[in-house]
């Protein structure tokens, strides 16, 4: 370190030094980093349990230095339910892609939300199946080309993209819902605050907390990381607006 300078930011302790396998510019990496910054700041490393999915983030347990459990494809919400019910003092999160949470795992997701299970969903919505070769997801935008919708998503045949934040906000026992992104430093800072808020609400046992990351997939969108930010701004945010969809009523401290 240079003399006369002080350290103001370094890689979070709870993010292992292991090189993550994600493609350059992929928000899976950013989400891991921010998640572990929150864990470090709240000092909850020893009592945090994550559930990782099937999808690109299947190896999340190799990177996050907290207790992790792998779930079968789509079943992370059911596994997180079990963990949180047995160990209610732990901070539990599921980490799931859109194929995982909103296609094969829709039943588990909706019922966990309806029951108000007291864990946090970290939902990575990149509008595509990243890991398996860029197939259409339930969240693929209208007209968006993927390997299984080469002429663009046709709502006449497959319906419109699912808006999970808007859907889960309807459940009475869901306490907090926010859609965030990492396309700019300002949005990344908001995203970090959102994850922190979700964990704090979970620790107060107020109900299900749900964070959707409007994410990217430069590799399967077949663009550069920079172009993926433009796609988010021009196509994703107009359909999937960022912001808070639900929060607990303000109580006097």
């Amino acid at each position: 370190m240079k003399e006369g300078y002080e350290l103001i930011y370094k890689r979070p302790e709870s993010l292992l030094q292991t090189r993550m396998h994600y493609c350059p510019g992929c928000f899976h990496s950013t989400t891991h980093k921010i998640l572990m910054e929150v864990v470090d700041e709240l000092g909850i490393k020893e009592k945090t349990v994550g559930v990782c999915p099937v999808g690109c983030s299947v190896f999340a347990y190799d990177y996050l230095d907290v207790d992790m459990q792998e779930a079968a494809h789509g079943r992370a919400a059911a596994v997180a339910t079990g963990i949180k019910r047995i160990l209610p003092d732990r901070v539990v999160f599921s980490y799931q892609g859109d194929g995982d949470l909103a296609a094969i795992g829709t039943a588990e997701t909706l019922h966990a939300c309806n029951r108000g299970e007291n864990f946090t969903f970290i939902f990575i919505n990149n509008g595509i199946y990243g890991m398996t070769g860029g197939q259409m997801a339930p969240t693929t935008l209208e007209g968006q080309k993927t390997s299984t919708s080469p002429y663009g998503r046709d709502p006449e045949k497959v319906g419109l993209p699912l808006k999970m934040c808007e859907i889960v906000s309807q459940f009475k026992r869901v306490a907090f819902v926010q859609r965030v992104s990492f396309n700019t430093p300002a949005n990344a800072r908001k995203a970090k605050k959102a994850i922190k808020t979700a964990f704090e609400i979970q620790m107060k046992k107020l109900g299900t907390t749900f964070i959707e990351v409007a994410s990217n997939c430069p590799s399967q969108w077949k663009c550069t990381p920079e172009e993926s930010l433009d796609w988010l701004t021009n196509h994703v945010f107009p359909y999937y607006p960022l912001g808070v969809f639900k929060e607990p009523p303000k109580t006097k401290e």
């Binding site: 300078y5 890689r11 990492f182 430093p185």
Partner: protein, 75 residues
């Protein structure tokens, strides 16, 4: 006067996504397009150190947590 800073970017940890370069408000970062790390990827570096204002935009946006930020202490 804005604060002064400098950053260290891990050559092996950087994946050359260019997002830090794009979001640095003072344009002091650049991608080294003449050299690669052991993964064959171009890496970002602090090209104009005197311009860095320790704003942490680069470390916030960097997906791979490859950036460490320092701030000059008050004299």
């Amino acid at each position: 006067m804005p604060q002064k800073g400098y950053v260290e970017i891990s050559v092996e940890g950087c994946k050359g996504c260019n997002l830090c370069v794009l979001h640095c408000p003072t344009n002091c970062l650049a991608l080294n397009t003449k050299d690669t790390n052991s993964y064959g990827l171009h890496y970002a570096y602090l090209a104009e150190e005197d311009k860095c204002i320790a704003c942490m935009n680069c470390s916030v946006i960097c997906p791979d947590a490859a950036i460490t930020v320092y701030k000059k202490m008050a004299a």
